[in-house]
Symmetry: D2
Subunit: 433 residues, 4 copies
C-alpha cells in the first residue's frame, strides 16, 4: 500500500480545489487509498469504477477482495432492492429472522454439504477482524491455552486481538501497547527452502524445555494478500494441518481475503484437501460489498455461553439476503470456480510475460496474484503508471514491493486481457531499461 505524505494537499485534486475540501478539513489523515487515486468515485458496475467527472477505471483491486462478483452485480442488487422494498427487518442482532434462516440454509446446501463439511456458523459482527477475534477466543476457550502461532507477514486485522497476530510493524506499533500471547513462525518459503518445513514448531512443541508453550491454535492465510501475495504450497498446508492434529493444536484458516472463490474454490484450502477447525470468512461473503462476516467452527468447539460474544451488527439482514443470492447464483454449480481457474491461468501467463521483460516475479494463486520486484520502489511506480492509464492496481508486502492484481472473478477474458495489457505498459514505464 502506498504511504503518501499525510499533509499532501493534492489529494482528490481532480475535481476541485481540494485544499479546501471537506476531505481535507474533516477526514482523518489516516486515509490511504485516496492518496494513490486522487479522484472522487461515484458509479461502479462490474469491473469498472467511474468518477464524478466521468472518468472510468478498470478495477483490478475489487475492494481488496470484497467485490469478487464485481460492482453492483444485477442479480444480487435486485435481491437487495426486493428485500428493502417491502419493509423487511433490516437490523435484528441475533434474533431469528427469515433472512438469516435462508442464509443458513443456503450456506448449508451450497457450501457445507457438497464439501462434506460440518461447521457451526457464528455471526460475530460484520467485519473480518470481528471474525478473527472470535476465532482466537474460540481456540483459547476450547483448549485452555493462551498462545496463538501466526506467520511472518500475516495480516489478520486491526483490533487488538487480530493485530497481535499481524506482522506489519507499522500497523503493530499503532497499537500503542505491547502485543502478546502470540508466537511468529516462518511462512512457506520464508527461509528460502533452507530448512525443513515446521522443523522449528515440531521441535519446540515436543520439548518441555524449549520455552515455547504449546499454543491454542495456529492461524494461517493460504495466500497472504496483504503480506505480499505469498502462496503456500498445498503440501505445506497439509503438513501444517498434520502437525496441528498430532499436537492437538487447532488450525484456524483466515479465509477473509482468499476465500469466496478468489483462488478457484469457495474456500481457498480446498485445493490442499485440509479441513481447518475454525474458518474466518468476510469480504465477498455478502457479494455486494455489504459488511458481513462469519466464523465457522467444528461443532465440538461451539462451547460458548449465550451472549459471551456479541456485537450490534451481527444480524444485518440485507447482507444475509445478498449473501444468499450470491450463494445461489455462483455456488450452486462449479461454473464460476472453473472460470476462475481459467482466468487465473490467463492472469498468471500474462504476469509472467510482463515479468520476464522487467524483472518481476509472479506470486499468488488464482485471481489473487502479484508481481514482485526486487527494488521496492518499482511497485509503487507501477501502480501510479497504471492509474494514469485507467487501471486500478494496488501494492502489497512489507515494503509495498509487490504489485497486487485482483480483478473480479466475473471478469470477461477480454477485459482481463485488456487490463493485463495496461499493466504491461505501466510496468514497462516504471522500469525503464
Amino acid at each position: 500500500m502506498t504511504i503518501a505524505n499525510p499533509t499532501d494537499t493534492a489529494a482528490a485534486g481532480t475535481s476541485a480545489d481540494q485544499a479546501s475540501s471537506v476531505f481535507e478539513r474533516r477526514e482523518s489523515v489516516v486515509r490511504s487509498y485516496c492518496r494513490s487515486w486522487p479522484v472522487v468515485f461515484d458509479r461502479a458496475s462490474g469491473a469498472e469504477q467511474t468518477t464524478e467527472d466521468g472518468q472510468t477505471f478498470l478495477d483490478f483491486f475489487s475492494g481488496a477482495g470484497a467485490l469478487n462478483y464485481g460492482h453492483n452485480h444485477p442479480v444480487l442488487k435486485q435481491a437487495l432492492l426486493d428485500y428493502l422494498g417491502t419493509d423487511r427487518v433490516i437490523h435484528s442482532l441475533d434474533m431469528f429472522s427469515v433472512a438469516k434462516r435462508e442464509f443458513l440454509e443456503a450456506f448449508e446446501e451450497h457450501i457445507l454439504i457438497p464439501r462434506g463439511l460440518d461447521y457451526r456458523v457464528q455471526l460475530p459482527g460484520p467485519t473480518g477482524t470481528n471474525s478473527v477475534e472470535t476465532a482466537l477466543k474460540i481456540a483459547r476457550k476450547a483448549t485452555g491455552r493462551e498462545q496463538v502461532v501466526s506467520f511472518t507477514n500475516a495480516f489478520h486485522g486491526m483490533t487488538m486481538g487480530s493485530l497481535a497476530v499481524t506482522g506489519n510493524s507499522m500497523k503493530r506499533k499503532g497499537a500503542g501497547i505491547p502485543l502478546h500471547h502470540t508466537t511468529t513462525a516462518p511462512y512457506d518459503d520464508y527461509l528460502g527452502g533452507d530448512t525443513t518445513d515446521f522443523l522449528w514448531l515440531e521441535r519446540v512443541w515436543s520439548d518441555s524445555g524449549s520455552g515455547v508453550d504449546l499454543p491454542a491454535a495456529v492461524i494461517v492465510e493460504t495466500v497472504q494478500g496483504e503480506g505480499g501475495l505469498n502462496a503456500a504450497r498445498a503440501e505445506w498446508l497439509r503438513a501444517l494441518a498434520d502437525l496441528c492434529r498430532r499436537f492437538e493444536v487447532l488450525l484456524v484458516v483466515d479465509d477473509v481475503q482468499a476465500g469466496c472463490g478468489r483462488t478457484g474454490t469457495f474456500f481457498s484450502f480446498e485445493e490442499a484437501g485440509i479441513v481447518p477447525d475454525v474458518v474466518c470468512l468476510s469480504k465477498s461473503l455478502s457479494g455486494l460489498g455489504l459488511p458481513f462476516s462469519v466464523t465457522l467452527m467444528r461443532p465440538e468447539l461451539d462451547l460458548w455461553e449465550p451472549g459471551e460474544h456479541n456485537g450490534t451488527f451481527r444480524g444485518f439482514n440485507p447482507a444475509f439476503v445478498t449473501a444468499t443470492a450470491a450463494l445461489r447464483e455462483f455456488w450452486s454449480d462449479d461454473e464460476l470456480a472453473a472460470t476462475v481457474r481459467e482466468r487465473g491461468d490467463q492472469l498468471r501467463r500474462g504476469l509472467e510475460a510482463i515479468g520476464a521483460d522487467t524483472g518481476g516475479h509472479y506470486r499468488g494463486r488464482g485471481l489473487l496474484a502479484g508481481l514482485h520486484f526486487d527494488d521496492p520502489e518499482v511497485a509503487e511506480r507501477v501502480a501510479a503508471e497504471a492509474f494514469d492509464r485507467g487501471l486500478l492496481v494496488e501494492t502489497s508486502g512489507p515494503e509495498s514491493e509487490v504489485v497486487k492484481v485482483m480483478p473480479p472473478l466475473t471478469i470477461s477474458a477480454a477485459d482481463l486481457d485488456r487490463g493485463i495489457g495496461l499493466l504491461g505498459d505501466a510496468v514497462r514505464a516504471a522500469t525503464p531499461a
Copy 2:
C-alpha cells in the same frame, strides 16, 4: 441480557419443530436474544416488528440503540433505494466517493458547526468496537502512555482492546487471555455517595508513589446502557472532564449507545457542557440499522500515518447515504431533540409510577431508561411477561437485574403510553404481592 440454557431446544419454537431447524443445526449456541424471543421476525416498521406468523410486537428495544428512528424509516429507506437504483459505488474502502463527501458535509453542517465542535472524522470500520479500538489507539499514540481508565460496569465491545475496558466478567473471561493496560474506577454513584467523586484518581495521579501510572485516557459512557442504565450526573461528567484536563489525560466518550439523540441531544454529553477529546459513534448513525461507525478526535490528535489503521468496510457508501439523510431529516432543527426530551419525561413518569407499586427504581436518562429491581430474577420475569403481552424489552446490568426500556425516538406519545401500559402489566405479573 437473559442468559438462557445453551442446550435449550425450545428456541424459535413458535413456528415449527425447531429442534430440527437450521438455527439448531448450524447457528452457534452463542446466540442470545432469540432465546428470550423464540420467534422468527420478518417485517418491521416504525416501532413494530412482525414475525413470519404475523404476530406483531411493540419494539421498546430498538436494536439496542441502532434503530433510534424506528424500523424502515421511509425517508431514509427511500434515500437508500435511490442510491442503490443507479449503480452508485457501494464499497470503496477509503477512496474518495461522492456519498462520503456528502456525509462529511452534512455532519459538519448539522452536527459540528451548530455545536461549535471541531473534530476530525475517522472511519475505522463499521462497528462500535472498531471505533472504540481506534479511540484507544489514538489516545495511546498521542500521549505515549499505555494505561486507560474505564469505569465499573462499562461496556465498550468484544474485541480485545475494547473488552479490556469492559466490566462484565463473563464476557471478559471469554477473552481467554488476561486483559491489560487498563484500570477500573468507580462510576458515578457506584460507592453510594460514600466518597468524594474522583478522590481516588486525583490522589493517585498526583502521587508518584501510588503505583498507578498516569493513563493515556479515560473512557466513559454518559449512561451505561449495558451496565444497568446508570446515568452519570452532569456535574460528575464536568468534574471528570476537569480532572482529565488538569492532568493532560484524554477524555474519550463512548457515545455508541447513548449518542444520536437517545438522551435528548445528538451527543449525550451536550447536556453536561463538556467537550471530549475523542468520541465514538455507531449504532444509530446510519439511521436505518446499517453497519457504520466513526471516531471523532480533536484535530491535534489526528497523528496517524496513512493506513496505520484500516479495515475493509470503512467505506460502506449506503451507510453514508442513509446517515446523510438522517442528519438532514432529524438534525437540521431541534424538533426531534425536543420531542425526545418530552417523551423522556413521559417515560420517566411512567416507569416511576410502575416502580412505586412494585419496588422498581427508575434509572437512566431520556429514552435510555430502565427499572431496577433488588431481586435480580424479577427483571427477567418482566421481560418474559412483556413478550407474552406483545412488548419487546430486554434486561441489563451485571445480574440482568434492570428492565431496559429503549423505544424509538420517533415513537408517538400514544404508542409510548401503550407500551408503558403493557410494561406495567408485565411488572405486576412478575412481582406478585
Copy 3:
C-alpha cells in the same frame, strides 16, 4: 532516599580524590546511599559505624532494617566464627544440613509454637524480593487466579514480580516493560479518612460487572518503611484480614522490613491479632546482616512440585547459624520485645517534641518511625545536617519527604536520647525560622 546527581564527582570525597577512585571508575552510577554519606566505612559495632579515617557515626538507619541487633553483635558473631572455624558446610542448596535443621527447630520452638502459628517454611533464595516473588507464585498457584492487590506507596522489591506490586514510579519505570497482573488499592489513611475502609475492594469483588477480577492475594506491609513510614491501624489490618477471608483471597504480609521485632513483636502483625496466609521475612532474620530470607505459608498452600522454585543460595548455612543464634538470644523470652516497645515510646516522644517546634509530624510504629514534613526538601536537608553531626538517618516516601529513624532494637536508652538530640539539632538547622 536522596536522589543525587549521578555525575556528582564529590562522591566519597572525604578520603581522597574520588574523581579518580575505583568507585568512580568502576561502580555503576546506580549507587545511592554513598551519595548522601560520602565516606568510606570500615568498622562497625552495635549502634556505631566508623570510617577508614576514624570518624564514628551513630547509626539510626540499621541497614534499612537488616541490622536490628546492631552491627557485629558478639553472640551472633561468635556463633558464626565457631561454625566457620570447623569446616562445616557453607553452601548446600536445598540439601539437608545440620545447620538448617537447627534453624528450623529454633524457628519452630521460639517463633511458631509460642504464637500458635502453623506455617511451612520455604527457603526461596536469600533476599527479600526472592521471598516476595515466591509468595506471589504460591498465591497464584493455590488460587488459580492471576491478579494481586497491592497498596499505594508499597515497596516489595526490584525483580519483575515484586516490582509489579511496588508503587514508586521511578523504580517501576526502571522495569522497561509494563507491569501487569496487579491492582492498586489505597493504604490506610491514604484518602484522608474521606471514605470507609475497603469500600472499594468489597464493592468490586462483589460485583461481577465491576471489571476488577477477584485476585489471588492481597500483599501488605503493616508499616510502609520505604513508602513514607505509614503505619496501618490494627483495626484496618483486621478489616483487611476479614475481607480476604470472606472472599477467599489470600493475605500476604511482607514483613521484610517491619518484621524481626522492629515494631515491638517478632512479626509486625501480631499486635493486630491477624494470621496471614503467607509471610515474607528477610533483612534481620540472620541477625548479623547475612543474606537470608524465608517465605512462610499455611500448610494447605504448600502445593509445590519439588524444584518448581529454586535458587543457588537458598541454603546458605552461615545465615542459618546466625539466625538460630539470634532466635535463641533474643526471642526465647519477651525481654527484647518489651525493650523495643519502651524505646519505641521514647522515640515517639522525642520525635513529637522535635516536630512540635518544626512542623514535623510523627509517623510509624515502634522503632520504625519518621518525621514527615510538608515541604519535601526539608527531610533531605535534615539527613544532611544529621550526617554533619555524626548521625546517620535516611529519608523515605515518594518525594523523600519523611526523615526515617531506625535505630538498632538493642540500642541503650542513653544512646537513643543522644541520637534524638542530634536529630533535633539537625531538624532545627534544616528548618530555619
Copy 4:
C-alpha cells in the same frame, strides 16, 4: 534434577525417623536435592562433603557451580575469619566500604585489565537472578525496546523477569501468570544442523513485516548448565555477537554457572573472543559459597538513576572479602585456568570412555560436562547408583536425561580419576546389558 514424589517420607531417612523430622514438619515440599540425597550434611572440605553420621561423599556437583574452589578453601576462609574477627562492617547496602573498594580494585586488576575489558560493575543483590533481572532492565532502558531473545532450554532464574527467559515448562508454569516480552530462538545445534545458524533471527529482524520486533537484547549461556550441558561452538557465539552488533541488539552473557573459570577461562566467552555488552556473574564469585553477584555493563550502558535499582543485600562485605581473596589466589596468573583445561580434557576422555560402552554421549566444555542418554530414565538411575557409591552427581536437561558432572576446579587429577571410576561403575549398573 530429580523430581521425586513430594510426599516421599523417606526423605533424610538415614539419620532418624524422618517422617517426624522438622524437615517433614516444617520445610516446604518444594525441596528437591535432598530427595536424591536423603542424608544430613554437616562438614565439607575441598571435594568432599560429610554427613552427620560420618559418611563422606566425593562432590562432583560443587553447589551447582557455586563452589568452584571446593568447600572451605583455607585461603578464602582465613580471609573471612580475619575480616569477621575485627568488627569490620558486614552489611552496608551501597555505602562505600573498604572491603568493596578492595574488591573493585582486585576485579579491575586481575580480571578486567588483563583481558582488555572495560565494564562498569553493578551490585544488584546477591543472587544470579538479581543479576539477570538487572541485565534485562539495563538492556531495555538503554535501547527503549521491550523484547528479549532467549534460547531453547535456557535457565536464567526464578523471579518473574528471569523466568520469562527460562525454557523449562514446569518452572515457567510456576509463575502462575503468562510470561511476556521474550522470544525464543534455537540454541546451537538445537535443530540438528538442519538449518543455517541465525537464519531465522537475521531474516525476521531484517523484515519489517515479520511480526517479530527487534529486541533490546539477546541473553545467552555459553554452556547450558541446567538445560542439558549443551555447549555452544565458538563460531556460533561469534556469529551471534556479530548479528547483535549489526542490528544494534545488546548481547547479554549469563555467566552465572559457566563463569568464574568453570570452562577454563575466567569468563566462559573468552575462548570465543567475543565481548558481550552485559555480563551476569554470581555463584562462585565469592569463592566460598557466600551469596554474591554482579552485573557488568559497557560504560555507555550505565544509564541508571541513583537508586533506580536497589536491594538490601547488595553490599555484603564478607562476600567482597572472599571474592577479593579468590581473585588474588586464583586469577593473578594463568595457573588455575591451565589446570582446568587439563582436568577438562581428563574428564572428557573419562566420560567418553564410559559413554562408549553404555550409549552415553559427552556434552559440555571444561569442567561443566555431562553424559546424555537417549532413555531419559537412565540418568536418574546413574545419579542414584553414584550416590550409593559415595559420589554426588546430579541430572540436567528438560527430561533430566543428562548426568551432570561438575567437580571443583581445584580437584586433583587423582580425585578426578577416582570419581570418574565411581561414575563408570554407576553408569554400568544403571545400564545393564
